[in-house]
Structure formats: C-alpha cells, structure tokens
C-alpha cells in the first residue's frame, strides 16, 4: 500500500526520529511511504488558541497537498483530532463549499499511526523488540476524540522483551494543551507534577504515548528533575528490533 506520511510540523522540527521510525515500521511491513515536501501544519495551534481565521489557510494548504492521496498516516492523535473534529466547521466558517467537499472526501482516508496499523492493516505484531520497562500515557485526544481504546496497548504487548507497566490515572490530561502550557503555566505545571508522580510510581524506564506533544511536556519535567526517565513516541518502540534500536 502507498502511504502518504503527514509528519506534522512539530515532529518534523523537533522529533524527526519519530518520523524515521514510522517509515521504518511501515516499510518493514512491506508498504511504500511517500513524503510530500509541500506539507506544513494541520492548523491546530492557531485553531485551538482562537486564531480561527489564521488557521483556515493552513488547513486549506493541508487539504490541497493531500487531496489526491489515497491513505494518509499521521503519528499524532491530536493533529488527527484537529482534522476530524474541526475541519468541517472551519470549512463552513470559510463559507467554502469546495473546501468542505474536499475535507469530507479526505477525512475517511486519514489515520493516526497506531490506528492505521491495527484497524486498517489488522497488524498487532510489527516484529519489534524493546527489552525495557515501559508505561503508556493515554493522551487525551487519542482516547476522547479518536477513541483508540486499547490499540496502543495491543501493539505494545506484542513487542519482544517489553514489560508494560500500568500508569495510574493514565486518562487524565498531562497539562500540555498547546498554548495552555504557556498561558496557564502554573496550572499546567501543577497538572504535570501529578502526571510525573504517576509515571515515577510505575518505575518505568520509558514513558510512551502516541503524541509527542504530551511526551515533550512530560520530558520537560522528567529532565528538569533529573529523573532520567526517557520518553519515546510509540513509533520508536515499534521500530526497534533485536538488531537495531530506534
């Protein structure tokens, strides 16, 4: 299958290793990956911060780049939730019927990375090995917007050597929330402190998630406190094999 990768702006800029891992997993499963270099951002930051008019050209650009793509895979549940929850409304706001039609046609072809593996490909064992103690933060959008349920867990359970440790209150927000983490830095930090406490209680070596946004937030505190607990996007764990660490 030909898979168009939408890497997302922050993975492109800050977490290229996640993108490389997605490519490695998909190619290992025998699929062809294409990267459309015209891609930029889904518009979520602007939309969620209230810059609705400014978000519209960004999402319009996304739609134009991917209009003819068969299957689009995105290693970020929050960007996918932006598309599924808000693109139609944005098109209505722009009073653009053709944009709306494009969005309607495009949405069913967009998948979050783990959702693509399990729901579309029907694969749970991607041949990965990662001999570490891992805990999973179930990010808000992955649960409450995409309803991924136990999909990430099913994938992690098939990873050789991986010991999955249960994270208490894993459904509670880590406090990132995009610009919320800056606009309400104190409250965000208090939420993060609770989350980090739960992560440390698991005694995991690595905290994973399907979103690097939450992980960047968690890493910020884990590193500031010199806990040396690592964070890694789930794609990096799934890309690891006995011979090759992601």
């Amino acid at each position: 299958m030909l898979v168009s990768l939408f890497i997302t702006c922050y993975n492109d800029t800050l977490f290229p290793e996640t993108g490389r891992s997605v490519v490695r997993v998909l190619e290992r499963l025998g699929h062809t990956v294409e990267f459309r270099p015209e891609q930029t951002c889904c518009g979520q930051m602007h939309w969620n911060t209230g810059y609705l008019q400014e978000a519209i050209p960004i999402l319009r650009h996304f739609v134009e780049v991917y209009r003819d793509a068969e299957t689009i895979v995105v290693p970020s549940s929050s960007c996918v939730s932006m598309m599924r929850d808000h693109y139609l409304k944005a098109a209505e706001m722009a009073q653009d019927a053709s944009l709306r039609a494009d969005v309607e046609a495009l949405l069913p072809r967009i998948y979050e990375f783990t959702e693509f593996l399990v729901k579309k490909l029907g694969v749970e064992d991607v041949g990965a090995a990662f001999p570490h103690k891992v805990t999973l933060h179930t990010s808000c959008h992955s649960q409450r917007s995409l309803h991924l349920g136990d999909i990430p867990i099913r994938l992690l359970k098939q990873v050789r050597g991986l010991q999955l440790l249960k994270l208490e209150s894993s459904q509670e927000c880590c406090g990132f929330g995009g610009t919320f983490s800056i606009k309400n830095a104190d409250v965000s930090s208090a939420m993060l402190a609770d989350k980090v406490r739960c992560v440390l209680n698991t005694e995991a070596e690595v905290c994973t998630a399907v979103d690097n946004s939450c992980l960047m937030h968690l890493f910020g505190s884990l590193h500031r406190q010199r806990t040396f607990v690592r964070t890694a996007h789930i794609a990096e764990i799934l890309a690891s094999t006995a011979g090759e660490r992601a």
Binding site: G19, T32, V33, E38, G43, G175, T179, F180, M191, M216
Partner: protein, 502 residues
C-alpha cells in the same frame, strides 16, 4: 441601555487567581479529595446503566429542542402556571430580578427570608441586594450555610463548600453559632445546623428558591435536593418566590424521566435524589398560598442567538464537568472568580458578561475533553471554548495593544511560516542557529525568553535537532536515487520521493 452586570466577581484573570489557590495546600487537598470521591461515585452509577449513552442522547435532544422553541415553551409555561394559581414575572436582567423579588418580599413586611440553594440568585447578587435593603436572607442548604456563615463564596455549584473540610466547618459553626463546645463528628455538625435552621423554618414566612426544571405543559416547577431543607422551604412558608433562568424549561412532564435519572447520577453519584419536589401553582390549605416565578434572562437571549454556543444553555447544572476537569482538580472553583466555575463556567460566565468580563476563562482549559465525555446533555464544551477563544482574539485584534501584542505577533508569524514548506524549512534552519543563545552546556534549553518563559519555569526543552525530518527524507531520497542509478536500475527520483519497503 446596557443591562446591569451581575454580582461582582471578576477582579483578576484566571492565571493570577489560580496561582493564589495553587499555593493554598489545604484548599487543594480538600478539592482533590472531594472531586475524587464524587467522580468515583458518578462513574459507578453511570457505568451500571446499560442505557446511559441513550439517556445522554435523549437529554441532549430534549434540551436542544426546548431551546430551539424557547419562546413557545416559556409562554406555555406562563399560561399553565398562572392557571394553576402561580404568578409569573419576567426579569430582563439582574437588576430587574432583584427589584421584583424585593418588591414581593416587602409586600409582606418581613425583614428575614429563607433561601434554598440557588446559583441563579448568586448570579444576580440577590443576597447582598436584599441586605442593602434591610432584608436578611438565610441560606438553608448546609453547604450554602457554611459559605454564608464563613463569609465565603461558593466554589462549586452543586457542592458549594467543597473547598472546606470538616474541621474548617466546625470552626465556622463554633464562631458563628456561638457553640464553643461543638464536636467534630459529621453528626455533631449536622445537628448544629439542624437546630440553627429549624427555628428559622418555623418562624419565617417567605422563601426564595431556584429551580432545576420548569414544565411547560402544566406549569410545574421541580427541585431536587439531598437534605430536606428544600422541602421545608417549599411547604412551610406562606409565600414562595422561585427565581429561574429562562433556559430551564422542559416541554413535558414525562421529560423528567430522563433528567431525574441523569441529573442525580451526574451530580452527586446518587441513583436518585433523596428529595424530588414538583409543585404546580397553589393548592388551597397545602403549602405556600402565594407562589411567584421570576423568569430571568440576564443575557441568556444573546447566547440563544449564537448558533455555535447555544448548547451552553442545555446545561442542567449537574457539575459533573467540574469533577472531571483536571484544571478544576488543581484550582477548585474560586480561581474562576465566577458564580459558575469549572468548564461550564468557563463558557457560561464570559457569555453572561457579553465577553466583556471573564475573557481569560475560555483559556482556562487544556481542551482535554473530559468535560464533554461526562456531560449528561452532551454539551461539547471544548468546541464552545474554542469558539469563545475566537471571539476573544477577534476583539483583541481590533485594539492596537492586541494587534501588536506578543501573542498576535507570534501567531501571525507562525501562520506566515506554515503557509509554505519553504518558509517552514527556513524557519527550522534559522531556529537551529538562534537557539545557540539558549542551549546550555548540557545541550538542553532551561531558560526561554518572553512568552515562552512560561514553559521553562518548570520544564526543560530539547533543542531542535541537527536535521529536520524533511531534510532527512530529502537526503535519503537522494541516496536511494543515486544507488538506483549506480546499480543501473534506472530508478527515477520523484518530486515527492517515495521509497519501497525492504
């Protein structure tokens, strides 16, 4: 003329007010404990219902229908209530509501009245208004009594004294009820409140209440409660005045079938409220012989006119969104500086103030969606929060300080960069150079300037890596194509570059 604003709460913005609460470890611990307990009970009693989701759908549909035909149902309610012997008054705003209620009380020459917990009266600032006019209102709900005696403000509209623990309540009662020997057991506190209140129930002739629901078809009014203080106020006095927001009307009596299931389960984690009172007008020789309903608009009409945020008015004030909210867990209700706290308060309050106050409230959420998930009438609170953020930004951009403020400049710059991939790549390259100013010896960013300093106050940041993903991809495509050419496979580089599985 602008309607007079509601009671005075909005002094500081949310981040500043929240900071004060975050430093108050006692309040935080009380809030955390209480919300955890209520939420666990709520989860248990909603989870046991096989038709919980259909009940939410039905609740949302009934409330949306009522709002879509509010003009019809309000007039129907007025006619039915009047036929049954009630008197209906219409109040455009807080000032009108207060004047109407004061006038009704003064007719009976009393200077004390009973109150049943009503957030609507908090919204219009009824108690201070009556006080200024020589009338003392006695709160009879236990939590409201604690708040009133403690000269405090409610922090949760179902559990107003949620931020106080037992020992703090005991101190307030000892001081205000003159009971220095009062014990600390729950039954000691309840007994003290009971004897304090009972005297008032028997003596006072006028009561003021709110309402959970109005029933259009028969003019009935419904109140659910846990303590029986409501039942006392609804039956003992000669005169009952109910102040109710216009959005609280339901078309039919049978609609209560849905809400008397979803409201108690969502609000307090009870399968049913201990007291469900429904009364219709006046019954001779039974209960209050004079009954008034004051229907309050107070800027609800403009919300009704906004298709994006109309769903705000579907709210049945269960408070489940407060208990589920990770922001509320940290801050409790006072940080919202509003009668209505939590996620629903964050959308309702600024709208009740025509977006002139409470403008920081739509941002008091990480948009995690926990509120929407528990809402028994399916208000998509995150969606409305974003809609209101849009209004805040739009208003800000009309001012010079807003247009040239850091947020707008930052967002406009980002929008410019995201408009094309070449701009984004250029920004990535520039970022790698510029970050040398902030990357420390360990190769980490511990201090960021200006807006971004909020991030580094508690969080480190990994610098931009040497190579972006798009650069890695371009390099890989070049290598692959070169290898193909070398091996004579005749592979050709595609503009987009795609690579096959190994």
């Amino acid at each position: 003329m602008k309607p007079t604003p509601s009671s005075h709460w909005q002094d500081r913005d949310f981040p500043a007010a929240a900071r004060e609460v975050l430093e108050d470890s006692q309040t935080r611990s009380n809030v955390r404990h209480a919300t955890n307990v209520i939420q666990a009970k709520r989860d248990a009693v909603t989870g046991e219902l096989p038709d919980w989701e259909p009940l939410r759908d039905a609740g949302a549909a009934i409330r949306a229908h009522s709002l879509a035909h509010l003009d019809y149902y309000l007039v129907q309610f007025e006619q039915a209530c009047t036929r049954a012997g009630g008197q209906v008054h219409w109040a455009r705003d807080a000032a009108e509501a207060n004047q109407i209620i004061l006038g009704l009380i003064q007719r009976h020459h009393v200077d004390e009245v009973l109150k049943i917990k009503t957030m609507t009266s908090e919204e219009v600032g009824l108690n201070p208004y009556l006080e200024a006019n020589g009338i003392r209102a006695h709160e009879t709900d236990l939590a409201e009594l604690i708040v009133q005696l403690g000269k405090d403000k409610p922090s949760h509209f179902v559990v107003p004294a949620l931020h106080k623990n037992r020992m703090q309540v005991r101190e307030i009662f000892q001081r205000e009820m003159h009971l220095p020997e009062l014990g600390e057991r729950p039954e000691d506190l309840a007994a003290a409140a009971r004897s304090y209140l009972r005297e008032k129930f028997f003596r006072l002739k006028v009561a003021v209440s709110g309402a959970n629901f109005l029933i259009a078809e028969n003019g009935a009014v419904c109140i659910v409660e846990s303590e029986g203080n409501g039942r006392m106020c609804l039956t003992l006095p000669d005169v009952l005045i109910s102040l109710v927001g216009i959005e609280k009307v339901l078309p039919r009596f049978r609609d209560l079938e849905v809400f008397l299931q979803t409201l108690p389960r969502s609000a307090t984690g009870e399968r049913m409220n201990p007291y469900n009172s429904i009364w219709t007008g006046v019954q001779q020789g039974d209960g209050p012989q004079e009954f008034h309903v004051v229907l309050l608009d107070n800027r609800r009409s403009p919300i009704l006119g906004d298709a994006e945020s109309r769903q705000t008015l579907q709210c049945i004030r269960c408070g489940a969104c407060l208990n589920a909210c990770p922001v509320y867990h940290q801050t409790g209700g006072h940080a919202y500086e509003s009668v209505y706290a939590g996620p629903i308060g964050a959308i309702l309050t600024p709208q009740l103030h025509s977006m002139e106050e409470g403008r920081s409230l739509p941002y008091a959420s990480s948009l995690c969606g926990a509120c929407y998930e528990v809402c028994p009438v399916k208000i998509n609170i995150p969606e409305v929060l974003i809609h209101l953020r849009g209004k805040v930004v739009e208003e800000d951009q009309k001012t010079l300080s807003g247009r040239f403020g850091m947020w707008n400049l930052g967002m406009q710059t980002a929008a410019f960069l995201f408009a094309s991939a070449s701009r984004l790549s250029l920004a990535q390259s520039l970022g790698r150079v510029a970050q040398k100013l902030v990357v420390n010896k360990e190769g980490m960013i511990e201090h960021l300037p200006l807006l971004l300093s909020g991030w580094t106050q508690t969080r480190d940041l990994r610098p931009l890596p040497e190579q972006s993903f798009r650069e890695w991809w371009a390099e890989r495509t070049l290598q692959t194509d070169a290898a193909r050419t070398d091996s004579g496979a005749g592979g050709q580089a595609t503009g987009r570059g795609s690579s096959h599985g190994e």
